[in-house]
Symmetry: C2
Protein backbone atom coordinates (compact mmCIF):
# COMPACT_ATOMS: atom_id res chain seq x y z
CA UNK A 1 0.00 0.00 0.00
CA UNK A 2 1.31 3.43 -1.00
CA UNK A 3 -0.92 5.90 0.81
CA UNK A 4 -2.33 6.11 4.33
CA UNK A 5 -5.20 8.37 5.31
CA UNK A 6 -6.46 9.51 8.68
CA UNK A 7 -10.14 10.40 8.96
CA UNK A 8 -11.97 12.42 11.61
CA UNK A 9 -15.52 11.12 11.81
CA UNK A 10 -18.55 12.52 13.64
CA UNK A 11 -21.64 10.48 14.31
CA UNK A 12 -24.94 10.36 16.10
CA UNK A 13 -24.89 6.78 17.42
CA UNK A 14 -28.65 6.59 18.13
CA UNK A 15 -29.56 4.37 15.20
CA UNK A 16 -26.49 2.11 15.12
CA UNK A 17 -25.29 -1.02 16.88
CA UNK A 18 -22.00 0.78 17.59
CA UNK A 19 -18.76 1.46 15.76
CA UNK A 20 -17.50 -2.07 15.26
CA UNK A 21 -18.41 -4.35 12.34
CA UNK A 22 -20.48 -7.32 13.50
CA UNK A 23 -22.72 -9.78 11.70
CA UNK A 24 -26.45 -9.04 11.44
CA UNK A 25 -26.13 -5.50 12.80
CA UNK A 26 -25.73 -2.03 11.32
CA UNK A 27 -22.36 -0.62 12.38
CA UNK A 28 -20.75 2.73 11.65
CA UNK A 29 -17.43 1.09 10.70
CA UNK A 30 -19.23 -1.02 8.07
CA UNK A 31 -20.94 1.98 6.47
CA UNK A 32 -17.73 4.02 6.40
CA UNK A 33 -15.72 1.09 5.03
CA UNK A 34 -18.32 0.41 2.33
CA UNK A 35 -18.20 4.07 1.30
CA UNK A 36 -14.37 4.14 1.28
CA UNK A 37 -14.32 0.99 -0.92
CA UNK A 38 -16.91 2.47 -3.29
CA UNK A 39 -14.91 5.66 -3.75
CA UNK A 40 -11.40 4.19 -3.92
CA UNK A 41 -12.38 1.00 -5.78
CA UNK A 42 -9.93 -0.81 -3.47
CA UNK A 43 -10.63 -3.40 -0.77
CA UNK A 44 -9.43 -1.07 1.98
CA UNK A 45 -10.05 -1.85 5.64
CA UNK A 46 -11.17 1.02 7.84
CA UNK A 47 -9.60 0.76 11.31
CA UNK A 48 -10.93 2.93 14.13
CA UNK A 49 -9.21 4.16 17.30
CA UNK A 50 -11.46 1.78 19.20
CA UNK A 51 -15.06 0.74 19.46
CA UNK A 52 -17.95 2.85 20.65
CA UNK A 53 -21.05 1.00 21.88
CA UNK A 54 -24.56 1.06 20.48
CA UNK A 55 -26.07 4.51 21.07
CA UNK A 56 -22.74 6.20 21.89
CA UNK A 57 -21.91 9.30 19.84
CA UNK A 58 -18.69 10.76 18.47
CA UNK A 59 -17.67 14.37 17.97
CA UNK A 60 -14.34 12.94 16.81
CA UNK A 61 -13.69 9.31 16.13
CA UNK A 62 -10.42 8.68 14.26
CA UNK A 63 -9.96 5.93 11.67
CA UNK A 64 -7.35 5.12 9.02
CA UNK A 65 -7.18 3.22 5.74
CA UNK A 66 -4.41 2.39 3.28
CA UNK A 67 -4.68 2.30 -0.52
CA UNK A 68 -2.54 1.94 -3.64
CA UNK A 69 -3.92 4.95 -5.48
CA UNK A 70 -3.65 8.53 -4.19
CA UNK A 71 -6.88 10.10 -2.95
CA UNK A 72 -7.96 13.67 -3.79
CA UNK A 73 -8.85 14.85 -0.29
CA UNK A 74 -11.40 17.55 -0.97
CA UNK A 75 -13.32 15.55 -3.58
CA UNK A 76 -13.19 12.49 -1.33
CA UNK A 77 -14.70 14.36 1.62
CA UNK A 78 -17.49 15.79 -0.54
CA UNK A 79 -18.24 12.43 -2.16
CA UNK A 80 -18.21 10.30 0.99
CA UNK A 81 -20.55 12.76 2.72
CA UNK A 82 -22.85 12.31 -0.25
CA UNK A 83 -22.81 8.53 0.24
CA UNK A 84 -22.97 8.31 4.04
CA UNK A 85 -26.24 8.82 5.94
CA UNK A 86 -26.55 12.29 7.47
CA UNK A 87 -25.93 11.02 11.00
CA UNK A 88 -22.35 10.07 10.01
CA UNK A 89 -20.01 12.76 8.60
CA UNK A 90 -16.39 12.84 7.51
CA UNK A 91 -15.23 16.09 9.16
CA UNK A 92 -11.61 15.90 7.97
CA UNK A 93 -9.24 13.67 6.01
CA UNK A 94 -5.45 13.96 5.72
CA UNK A 95 -2.57 11.89 4.44
CA UNK A 96 -0.40 10.40 7.20
CA UNK A 97 2.83 8.42 7.49
CA UNK A 98 2.50 4.75 6.45
CA UNK A 99 3.02 3.54 10.03
CA UNK A 100 0.12 5.58 11.43
CA UNK A 101 -2.42 3.28 13.09
CA UNK A 102 -5.64 4.80 14.46
CA UNK A 103 -5.74 2.39 17.40
CA UNK A 104 -2.09 1.54 18.15
CA UNK A 105 -0.74 5.08 17.63
CA UNK A 106 -3.34 6.62 19.95
CA UNK A 107 -1.78 8.13 23.09
CA UNK A 108 -4.96 9.16 24.87
CA UNK A 109 -8.69 9.61 24.45
CA UNK A 110 -11.26 11.98 25.77
CA UNK A 111 -14.91 11.15 26.45
CA UNK A 112 -17.64 13.48 27.71
CA UNK A 113 -20.76 12.30 29.51
CA UNK A 114 -23.84 14.55 29.58
CA UNK A 115 -26.26 14.57 32.52
CA UNK A 116 -29.53 16.51 32.40
CA UNK A 117 -31.41 17.60 35.54
CA UNK A 118 -34.75 19.32 36.00
CA UNK A 119 -38.28 18.06 35.49
CA UNK A 120 -37.97 17.29 31.77
CA UNK A 121 -35.44 16.91 28.96
CA UNK A 122 -35.58 19.23 25.95
CA UNK A 123 -36.76 17.42 22.78
CA UNK A 124 -33.50 18.52 21.15
CA UNK A 125 -31.40 16.81 23.83
CA UNK A 126 -33.46 13.66 24.14
CA UNK A 127 -30.91 11.33 22.50
CA UNK A 128 -27.82 13.00 23.97
CA UNK A 129 -28.19 13.04 27.75
CA UNK A 130 -28.96 10.88 30.75
CA UNK A 131 -31.95 12.41 32.52
CA UNK A 132 -31.25 12.34 36.27
CA UNK A 133 -34.52 13.62 37.69
CA UNK A 134 -33.58 13.15 41.33
CA UNK A 135 -31.41 15.40 43.53
CA UNK A 136 -27.61 14.97 43.34
CA UNK A 137 -25.08 16.23 45.88
CA UNK A 138 -22.62 18.01 43.60
CA UNK A 139 -19.87 18.16 46.24
CA UNK A 140 -19.98 14.38 46.55
CA UNK A 141 -20.13 14.09 42.77
CA UNK A 142 -16.97 16.20 42.42
CA UNK A 143 -15.14 14.17 45.07
CA UNK A 144 -16.17 10.85 43.53
CA UNK A 145 -15.03 12.08 40.10
CA UNK A 146 -11.64 13.18 41.49
CA UNK A 147 -11.12 9.78 43.14
CA UNK A 148 -10.66 8.13 39.74
CA UNK A 149 -7.84 10.38 38.55
CA UNK A 150 -4.49 8.55 38.55
CA UNK A 151 -3.16 5.13 37.60
CA UNK A 152 -5.43 2.32 38.78
CA UNK A 153 -6.45 -1.23 38.02
CA UNK A 154 -9.96 -0.60 36.66
CA UNK A 155 -11.10 -4.26 36.64
CA UNK A 156 -14.10 -3.37 38.80
CA UNK A 157 -15.24 -0.89 36.16
CA UNK A 158 -15.14 -2.98 32.99
CA UNK A 159 -17.55 -5.49 31.54
CA UNK A 160 -15.34 -8.28 30.31
CA UNK A 161 -17.91 -10.13 28.18
CA UNK A 162 -16.35 -11.21 24.86
CA UNK A 163 -13.51 -8.71 25.19
CA UNK A 164 -10.73 -10.98 26.40
CA UNK A 165 -8.00 -9.29 24.42
CA UNK A 166 -8.63 -5.83 25.84
CA UNK A 167 -8.83 -7.00 29.43
CA UNK A 168 -5.29 -8.44 29.56
CA UNK A 169 -3.96 -5.31 31.19
CA UNK A 170 -6.69 -3.55 33.22
CA UNK A 171 -4.42 -0.74 34.41
CA UNK A 172 -5.14 2.69 32.95
CA UNK A 173 -3.98 6.21 33.75
CA UNK A 174 -6.81 8.69 34.00
CA UNK A 175 -5.43 12.22 33.63
CA UNK A 176 -8.65 14.16 34.16
CA UNK A 177 -12.22 13.82 35.34
CA UNK A 178 -13.56 17.35 35.10
CA UNK A 179 -17.02 18.37 36.21
CA UNK A 180 -18.41 21.16 34.03
CA UNK A 181 -21.61 22.64 35.45
CA UNK A 182 -24.21 24.23 33.20
CA UNK A 183 -27.74 25.44 33.88
CA UNK A 184 -29.79 22.31 34.64
CA UNK A 185 -27.08 20.03 33.28
CA UNK A 186 -23.55 18.83 33.84
CA UNK A 187 -20.77 17.31 31.78
CA UNK A 188 -18.26 14.79 33.13
CA UNK A 189 -15.07 15.02 31.05
CA UNK A 190 -12.74 12.01 31.12
CA UNK A 191 -9.26 11.78 29.64
CA UNK A 192 -7.04 8.70 29.93
CA UNK A 193 -4.33 6.85 28.05
CA UNK A 194 -7.01 4.31 27.27
CA UNK A 195 -10.38 3.08 28.48
CA UNK A 196 -11.53 -0.48 29.16
CA UNK A 197 -14.79 -1.79 27.71
CA UNK A 198 -17.74 0.19 29.20
CA UNK A 199 -15.36 1.88 31.64
CA UNK A 200 -16.67 5.45 31.23
CA UNK A 201 -20.29 4.40 31.62
CA UNK A 202 -19.44 2.31 34.69
CA UNK A 203 -17.50 5.20 36.25
CA UNK A 204 -20.39 7.60 35.56
CA UNK A 205 -22.93 5.15 37.02
CA UNK A 206 -20.84 4.78 40.17
CA UNK A 207 -20.15 8.52 40.53
CA UNK A 208 -23.88 9.25 40.22
CA UNK A 209 -24.65 6.59 42.86
CA UNK A 210 -22.25 8.35 45.25
CA UNK A 211 -23.83 11.73 44.44
CA UNK A 212 -27.26 10.17 45.05
CA UNK A 213 -26.27 8.96 48.54
CA UNK A 214 -26.51 5.28 47.56
CA UNK A 215 -22.77 4.71 48.12
CA UNK A 216 -20.12 6.43 50.20
CA UNK A 217 -16.81 7.83 48.99
CA UNK A 218 -15.06 5.29 51.25
CA UNK A 219 -16.64 2.42 49.35
CA UNK A 220 -14.85 3.54 46.18
CA UNK A 221 -11.45 2.42 47.60
CA UNK A 222 -12.92 -0.96 48.45
CA UNK A 223 -14.57 -1.37 45.03
CA UNK A 224 -11.39 -0.44 43.16
CA UNK A 225 -9.25 -2.80 45.29
CA UNK A 226 -11.65 -5.73 44.88
CA UNK A 227 -11.20 -5.90 41.08
CA UNK A 228 -14.75 -7.21 40.81
CA UNK A 229 -17.25 -5.67 38.40
CA UNK A 230 -20.18 -6.79 40.54
CA UNK A 231 -19.28 -4.32 43.29
CA UNK A 232 -19.41 -1.12 41.22
CA UNK A 233 -22.48 0.87 40.18
CA UNK A 234 -24.77 0.32 37.22
CA UNK A 235 -23.67 1.42 33.76
CA UNK A 236 -24.92 4.86 32.82
CA UNK A 237 -27.03 4.85 29.62
CA UNK A 238 -25.13 4.90 26.31
CA UNK A 239 -26.90 7.95 24.90
CA UNK A 240 -25.19 10.46 27.23
CA UNK A 241 -21.70 9.44 26.07
CA UNK A 242 -19.58 11.20 23.44
CA UNK A 243 -16.11 10.31 22.19
CA UNK A 244 -14.73 13.82 21.71
CA UNK A 245 -11.05 13.46 20.87
CA UNK A 246 -8.29 10.93 20.18
CA UNK A 247 -4.78 12.19 20.90
CA UNK A 248 -1.71 11.24 18.81
CA UNK A 249 1.97 12.21 18.92
CA UNK A 250 2.67 15.69 17.57
CA UNK A 251 -1.04 16.19 17.15
CA UNK A 252 -1.02 13.78 14.18
Amino acid sequence: MNYSYKMHLMYDGTHYSGWQIQPHALSIQQLVQNAVRTLTREEANVIGSGRTDAGVHALEQVAHFRVVEKVHLEAFQRSINGILPKDIRLAKIEEVAPDFHAQRSALAKEYHYHLSFGPFVSPFERSYVWHVAWKLDLDLLRQAAAFFVGTHDFSSFTNSAHHGACAKNPVRTVTKVDVVEKPNSLILEFKANGFLYKMVRNLVGTIVEVASGKRTLDELHHIMAAKDRRLAGHSAPAQGLFLVKVYYKDGV
Copy 2:
Protein backbone atom coordinates in the same frame (compact mmCIF):
# COMPACT_ATOMS: atom_id res chain seq x y z
CA MET B 1 -65.71 25.99 31.97
CA ASN B 2 -64.16 27.04 35.28
CA TYR B 3 -60.44 26.88 34.68
CA SER B 4 -58.17 28.00 31.85
CA TYR B 5 -54.60 26.82 31.43
CA LYS B 6 -51.75 28.14 29.32
CA MET B 7 -49.12 25.64 28.24
CA HIS B 8 -45.58 26.25 26.94
CA LEU B 9 -44.71 23.40 24.58
CA MET B 10 -41.38 22.47 23.00
CA TYR B 11 -41.13 20.12 20.06
CA ASP B 12 -38.86 18.66 17.45
CA GLY B 13 -41.10 18.84 14.39
CA THR B 14 -39.07 16.37 12.30
CA HIS B 15 -41.49 13.46 12.56
CA TYR B 16 -44.79 15.35 12.46
CA SER B 17 -47.08 16.77 9.81
CA GLY B 18 -47.09 20.05 11.73
CA TRP B 19 -48.92 21.56 14.70
CA GLN B 20 -52.46 21.56 13.35
CA ILE B 21 -54.91 18.66 13.59
CA GLN B 22 -55.68 17.23 10.16
CA PRO B 23 -57.16 13.94 8.97
CA HIS B 24 -54.81 11.05 8.13
CA ALA B 25 -51.71 12.80 9.52
CA LEU B 26 -49.84 12.83 12.81
CA SER B 27 -50.03 16.34 14.29
CA ILE B 28 -48.58 17.73 17.49
CA GLN B 29 -51.88 19.40 18.43
CA GLN B 30 -53.64 16.03 18.21
CA LEU B 31 -51.13 14.28 20.46
CA VAL B 32 -51.20 17.08 23.04
CA GLN B 33 -55.01 17.24 22.98
CA ASN B 34 -55.30 13.45 23.36
CA ALA B 35 -52.96 13.58 26.36
CA VAL B 36 -54.85 16.51 27.94
CA ARG B 37 -58.14 14.63 27.52
CA THR B 38 -56.66 11.46 29.02
CA LEU B 39 -55.40 13.31 32.09
CA THR B 40 -58.37 15.62 32.69
CA ARG B 41 -61.04 13.13 31.59
CA GLU B 42 -62.74 16.09 29.90
CA GLU B 43 -63.32 16.73 26.19
CA ALA B 44 -61.05 19.79 26.23
CA ASN B 45 -59.87 21.41 23.01
CA VAL B 46 -56.24 22.43 22.83
CA ILE B 47 -55.86 25.72 20.92
CA GLY B 48 -52.38 26.84 19.80
CA SER B 49 -51.04 30.32 19.09
CA GLY B 50 -50.96 29.33 15.43
CA ARG B 51 -49.87 26.53 13.19
CA THR B 52 -46.32 25.46 12.53
CA ASP B 53 -45.67 23.48 9.33
CA ALA B 54 -44.42 19.94 8.92
CA GLY B 55 -40.79 19.77 10.04
CA VAL B 56 -40.84 23.14 11.84
CA HIS B 57 -39.69 23.09 15.48
CA ALA B 58 -40.75 24.99 18.58
CA LEU B 59 -38.71 26.15 21.54
CA GLU B 60 -41.93 27.73 22.77
CA GLN B 61 -45.32 27.13 21.27
CA VAL B 62 -48.18 28.37 23.45
CA ALA B 63 -51.55 26.63 23.71
CA HIS B 64 -54.53 26.83 26.05
CA PHE B 65 -57.38 24.61 27.18
CA ARG B 66 -60.40 25.08 29.46
CA VAL B 67 -61.83 22.51 31.88
CA VAL B 68 -64.43 22.19 34.63
CA GLU B 69 -62.14 20.53 37.20
CA LYS B 70 -59.04 22.19 38.62
CA VAL B 71 -55.71 20.76 37.46
CA HIS B 72 -52.76 20.09 39.79
CA LEU B 73 -50.03 21.78 37.78
CA GLU B 74 -46.93 19.91 38.89
CA ALA B 75 -48.53 16.47 38.69
CA PHE B 76 -50.07 17.39 35.33
CA GLN B 77 -46.69 18.37 33.86
CA ARG B 78 -45.05 15.19 35.10
CA SER B 79 -47.89 12.99 33.82
CA ILE B 80 -48.30 14.55 30.40
CA ASN B 81 -44.54 14.28 29.78
CA GLY B 82 -44.90 10.60 30.64
CA ILE B 83 -47.64 10.22 28.00
CA LEU B 84 -46.21 12.40 25.20
CA PRO B 85 -43.42 11.15 22.92
CA LYS B 86 -39.99 12.49 23.89
CA ASP B 87 -39.88 14.89 20.95
CA ILE B 88 -42.80 16.86 22.47
CA ARG B 89 -42.48 18.30 26.01
CA LEU B 90 -44.67 20.42 28.23
CA ALA B 91 -42.10 22.92 29.56
CA LYS B 92 -44.54 24.93 31.71
CA ILE B 93 -48.21 25.15 32.61
CA GLU B 94 -50.02 27.91 34.49
CA GLU B 95 -53.58 28.95 35.23
CA VAL B 96 -54.72 32.04 33.31
CA ALA B 97 -57.74 34.33 33.17
CA PRO B 98 -60.80 32.77 31.50
CA ASP B 99 -60.56 35.14 28.53
CA PHE B 100 -56.98 34.15 27.66
CA HIS B 101 -56.82 32.78 24.11
CA ALA B 102 -53.48 31.44 22.83
CA GLN B 103 -54.10 32.74 19.30
CA ARG B 104 -56.30 35.82 19.73
CA SER B 105 -54.47 37.20 22.77
CA ALA B 106 -51.05 36.93 21.11
CA LEU B 107 -49.44 40.33 20.53
CA ALA B 108 -46.34 39.18 18.69
CA LYS B 109 -44.30 36.13 17.77
CA GLU B 110 -40.63 35.40 17.32
CA TYR B 111 -39.17 32.87 14.88
CA HIS B 112 -35.51 31.98 14.36
CA TYR B 113 -34.14 30.47 11.19
CA HIS B 114 -30.82 28.57 11.30
CA LEU B 115 -28.42 28.52 8.34
CA SER B 116 -25.33 26.29 8.32
CA PHE B 117 -22.31 26.98 6.11
CA GLY B 118 -19.12 25.03 5.51
CA PRO B 119 -18.54 21.76 3.66
CA PHE B 120 -20.76 19.57 5.86
CA VAL B 121 -23.43 19.72 8.55
CA SER B 122 -22.79 18.19 11.98
CA PRO B 123 -24.83 15.00 12.54
CA PHE B 124 -26.28 16.70 15.63
CA GLU B 125 -27.59 19.65 13.59
CA ARG B 126 -28.83 17.68 10.61
CA SER B 127 -32.55 18.20 11.33
CA TYR B 128 -32.25 21.76 12.59
CA VAL B 129 -30.53 23.82 9.88
CA TRP B 130 -30.61 24.67 6.21
CA HIS B 131 -27.22 23.75 4.75
CA VAL B 132 -26.13 26.57 2.44
CA ALA B 133 -22.94 25.17 0.96
CA TRP B 134 -22.32 28.05 -1.42
CA LYS B 135 -20.80 31.48 -0.68
CA LEU B 136 -23.11 34.19 0.68
CA ASP B 137 -22.41 37.93 0.74
CA LEU B 138 -23.20 38.75 4.35
CA ASP B 139 -23.40 42.50 3.73
CA LEU B 140 -26.12 41.92 1.16
CA LEU B 141 -27.78 39.45 3.51
CA ARG B 142 -27.90 42.03 6.32
CA GLN B 143 -29.31 44.69 3.97
CA ALA B 144 -31.95 42.34 2.57
CA ALA B 145 -32.94 41.33 6.11
CA ALA B 146 -33.24 44.99 7.19
CA PHE B 147 -35.45 45.77 4.18
CA PHE B 148 -38.32 43.73 5.66
CA VAL B 149 -38.48 45.59 8.98
CA GLY B 150 -41.57 47.80 9.18
CA THR B 151 -45.25 47.62 8.26
CA HIS B 152 -45.78 46.08 4.82
CA ASP B 153 -48.29 44.19 2.74
CA PHE B 154 -46.58 40.77 2.67
CA SER B 155 -48.83 39.20 -0.01
CA SER B 156 -45.77 38.38 -2.14
CA PHE B 157 -44.37 36.34 0.74
CA THR B 158 -47.27 34.09 1.66
CA ASN B 159 -48.56 30.88 0.15
CA SER B 160 -52.31 31.30 0.16
CA ALA B 161 -53.27 27.65 -0.49
CA HIS B 162 -56.16 26.62 1.78
CA HIS B 163 -55.53 29.52 4.17
CA GLY B 164 -58.18 31.94 2.99
CA ALA B 165 -59.03 33.17 6.46
CA CYS B 166 -55.50 34.21 7.38
CA ALA B 167 -54.89 36.03 4.12
CA LYS B 168 -57.74 38.54 4.55
CA ASN B 169 -55.36 41.13 5.89
CA PRO B 170 -51.86 40.62 4.49
CA VAL B 171 -50.35 43.62 6.32
CA ARG B 172 -47.96 42.79 9.15
CA THR B 173 -45.54 44.83 11.22
CA VAL B 174 -42.11 43.26 11.45
CA THR B 175 -40.26 44.76 14.42
CA LYS B 176 -36.95 42.97 13.97
CA VAL B 177 -34.95 40.88 11.53
CA ASP B 178 -31.66 40.35 13.35
CA VAL B 179 -28.69 38.57 11.83
CA VAL B 180 -26.73 36.67 14.47
CA GLU B 181 -23.41 35.37 13.15
CA LYS B 182 -21.78 32.28 14.64
CA PRO B 183 -18.79 30.22 13.49
CA ASN B 184 -19.88 28.55 10.23
CA SER B 185 -23.52 29.36 10.85
CA LEU B 186 -26.00 32.18 11.14
CA ILE B 187 -29.40 32.78 12.71
CA LEU B 188 -32.05 35.07 11.24
CA GLU B 189 -34.30 36.28 14.07
CA PHE B 190 -37.74 37.57 13.10
CA LYS B 191 -40.25 39.27 15.35
CA ALA B 192 -43.62 40.57 14.14
CA ASN B 193 -47.15 41.18 15.35
CA GLY B 194 -48.07 38.17 13.25
CA PHE B 195 -46.82 36.11 10.32
CA LEU B 196 -48.69 34.98 7.23
CA TYR B 197 -48.63 31.36 6.11
CA LYS B 198 -45.04 30.35 5.16
CA MET B 199 -43.97 34.01 5.46
CA VAL B 200 -40.75 33.40 7.43
CA ARG B 201 -39.57 30.67 5.08
CA ASN B 202 -40.38 32.82 2.03
CA LEU B 203 -38.53 35.80 3.51
CA VAL B 204 -35.51 33.61 4.31
CA GLY B 205 -35.52 32.10 0.82
CA THR B 206 -35.60 35.57 -0.73
CA ILE B 207 -32.94 37.01 1.61
CA VAL B 208 -30.62 34.09 0.76
CA GLU B 209 -31.22 34.62 -2.96
CA VAL B 210 -30.12 38.25 -2.57
CA ALA B 211 -27.05 37.17 -0.56
CA SER B 212 -26.29 34.62 -3.29
CA GLY B 213 -26.31 37.29 -6.01
CA LYS B 214 -29.40 35.86 -7.70
CA ARG B 215 -31.50 38.96 -6.95
CA THR B 216 -30.67 42.59 -6.26
CA LEU B 217 -31.76 44.64 -3.27
CA ASP B 218 -33.68 46.89 -5.67
CA GLU B 219 -35.83 43.97 -6.77
CA LEU B 220 -37.16 43.63 -3.22
CA HIS B 221 -39.14 46.89 -3.53
CA HIS B 222 -40.67 45.68 -6.74
CA ILE B 223 -41.52 42.22 -5.34
CA MET B 224 -43.16 43.69 -2.23
CA ALA B 225 -45.18 46.20 -4.27
CA ALA B 226 -46.39 43.56 -6.75
CA LYS B 227 -48.26 41.53 -4.07
CA ASP B 228 -47.59 38.42 -6.11
CA ARG B 229 -46.11 35.30 -4.51
CA ARG B 230 -44.63 34.15 -7.84
CA LEU B 231 -42.09 36.98 -7.83
CA ALA B 232 -40.40 36.20 -4.50
CA GLY B 233 -37.75 33.57 -3.79
CA HIS B 234 -38.21 29.91 -3.02
CA SER B 235 -39.30 28.83 0.45
CA ALA B 236 -36.42 27.94 2.72
CA PRO B 237 -36.65 24.34 4.04
CA ALA B 238 -38.88 23.79 7.09
CA GLN B 239 -36.21 22.11 9.21
CA GLY B 240 -34.22 25.32 9.85
CA LEU B 241 -37.20 27.11 11.39
CA PHE B 242 -37.99 27.45 15.12
CA LEU B 243 -40.92 29.18 16.79
CA VAL B 244 -39.10 30.58 19.82
CA LYS B 245 -41.57 32.84 21.64
CA VAL B 246 -45.16 34.04 21.65
CA TYR B 247 -45.70 37.42 23.32
CA TYR B 248 -48.79 38.31 25.37
CA LYS B 249 -49.88 41.37 27.34
CA ASP B 250 -48.06 41.74 30.70
CA GLY B 251 -45.97 38.72 29.80
CA VAL B 252 -49.04 36.49 30.35
